[in-house]
């Protein structure tokens, strides 16, 4: 049984096609007919343009936490007296199909560690998430991206970090070397391509070694929690950092670890469904209470919450785990170029001065 295969660059499409007959295959691809345009993970169909050369604009969280998901359906039924009687039909979580994500990056997969803690590891287990999580395998690229906005090494990851991955992909000049890291991934590689020759194998090993030594980002994330608490009430600090924030949802929607959701009942005529959909703590309505009071009325409180959640609340609750995977998407996509590294990095600077 093959544990390592080499896919020549010109055979990639046919290998992916073959792979897609074995399992639901998702790959990073262009979402627009523009090679530098936005990218995201899409289900593979022959002919789509893969985008392995750079990090995707959208994270892969939608595979595990879709932007919209039906939790249950309900139906009003009129009884003979004319008043409305409600019957509710529950929808069980759909059977998740075995899925392979081919070409994720280590930051993308590492983000799942955070999501797992929230949705899978208890005390409250989310059956919808767990179903999909169990059935999804990840083939992760050893990342060669040298982007000034990346900082995965600062938050516990790294370009060659394979935590949570089932297969490793090393990009060589003339193709891809794919290696199964776990037993359940091995059958996938059977009959796909030849095993690599020795020189390619050695080259790949060398690249992995180099990548794992590479330090990406220099943000100091130690002791963020107490620093954050110190800063919590210093409004001047937050004003000086994020006054330009537009309070839009870009940073949270492109974030692989942001998982906040909203639940709404959408009714049409006599039928309806209960939806779970992405929400963003940057929105005014996220914390708006029925009374009209809003505990986070301005963007300063909202942005502070985002930083606090990732660098203080999650680490304190989950033994130091950070709620950030260092992918840098929020920095890249921010319309007004707020840099979370600056906001976090400055938490500790002269925090008692003000």
């Amino acid at each position: 049984m093959a544990v390592k295969i080499f896919i020549a660059a010109d055979r990639l499409d046919s290998v992916l096609e073959k792979l897609s007959t074995k399992i639901d295959l998702w790959i990073p691809a262009l979402l627009k007919d523009d090679k530098s345009g936005p990218t995201g993970f899409v289900q593979y169909t022959p002919g789509i343009t893969p985008a392995f050369d750079r990090q995707t604009t959208m994270p892969l969280k939608k595979l595990l936490l879709p932007q919209e998901e039906t939790l249950l359906r309900f139906k009003y039924q009129k009884d003979p007296e004319g008043s409305l009687k409600t019957t509710i039909a529950l929808d069980d979580p759909k059977e998740a199909r075995p899925t392979l994500v081919f070409g994720a990056r280590s930051c993308d997969v590492r983000a799942l560690v955070t999501l797992d803690r929230v949705f899978a590891n208890g005390p409250y287990v989310d059956p919808y998430y767990v179903q999909r999580r169990k059935n999804t395998l990840f083939a992760t690229l050893v990342c060669g991206q040298t982007d000034s906005k990346c900082f995965c090494s600062s938050v516990g990851g790294g370009p060659a970090d394979m935590e949570g991955s089932h297969l490793r992909i090393v990009r060589l000049e003339d193709g891809y070397l794919v290696e199964a890291l776990s037993k359940d991934a091995q059958p996938l590689l059977a009959d796909l391509a030849e095993a690599p020759d020795k020189s390619r194998d050695q080259l790949a090993a060398k690249l992995v070694k180099e990548a794992s030594k590479r330090q990406v980002g220099d943000l100091d994330t130690k002791d963020c929690a107490p620093a954050f608490r110190n800063r919590f009430q210093q409004n001047d600090y937050w004003a000086s950092m994020v006054s330009q924030c537009l309070s839009c949802g870009v940073c949270t929607y492109v974030c692989p670890t942001c998982y906040c959701f909203s639940i709404t009942d959408e009714t049409r005529n006599l039928e309806g469904e209960r939806l779970r959909s992405w929400d963003s703590c940057m929105f005014y309505h996220y914390t708006l209470e029925a009374s009209g009071h809003n505990p986070r009325p301005t963007k300063l409180e909202r942005y502070r919450n985002r930083v606090g959640h990732k660098f203080s609340y999650i680490p304190e609750r989950y033994e130091g785990l950070l709620g950030c995977c260092g992918c840098g998407r929020c920095i890249r996509s921010c319309p007004v170029n707020i840099d979370i590294r600056q906001v976090v990095g400055n938490l500790k600077e002269n925090s008692n001065e003000q």
Binding site: L31, K32, I48, N269, L270
Partner: protein
Amino acid sequence: MTDSNPRSSAPAEDTAANRQGIKIVGFLCNWCSYGGADTAGVCRFKQPTDLRVVRIPCTGRMDPLFIAKSLIYGVDGVLVSGCHPRDCHYAVGNFYARRRMEAFKAFLPFMGIDTRRFKYTWVSASEGQQWQKVVTEFSEQIHMLGPNPGVELRSGEILKVSSGLK
């Protein structure tokens, strides 16, 4: 179809038009066209049955987004009717409406929605016959156009249309 209120879905009558599934929404001003439609009914003028009427206080209340929402979600036609210009119950409501609807009419086709599915007209409360004519003509036009395809993508379809934008 646009209404999410569970109480408002009376079962449709079994007529030829309904079997074909054509739905037209009419937004009628309380002070004139709604009366005009009533007059037409009282006079027993024969009218097509695929129009669902929404009564509004004045065409000045007419938000073009009512029309947008209807057409986006697959209503086959939208007819707006109010008082003749200079006859508005509130003096100027229909003047505002006229500009908005003209602009909206010109805008619709840009987004790929057939502008023939939307019509606005002026009918007073006494013009039962005129109402019959308007609604018959519009209904015929919508039947000629057939069901509104809406804007929904067929499931799973990935469209990539080259924009040609610089």
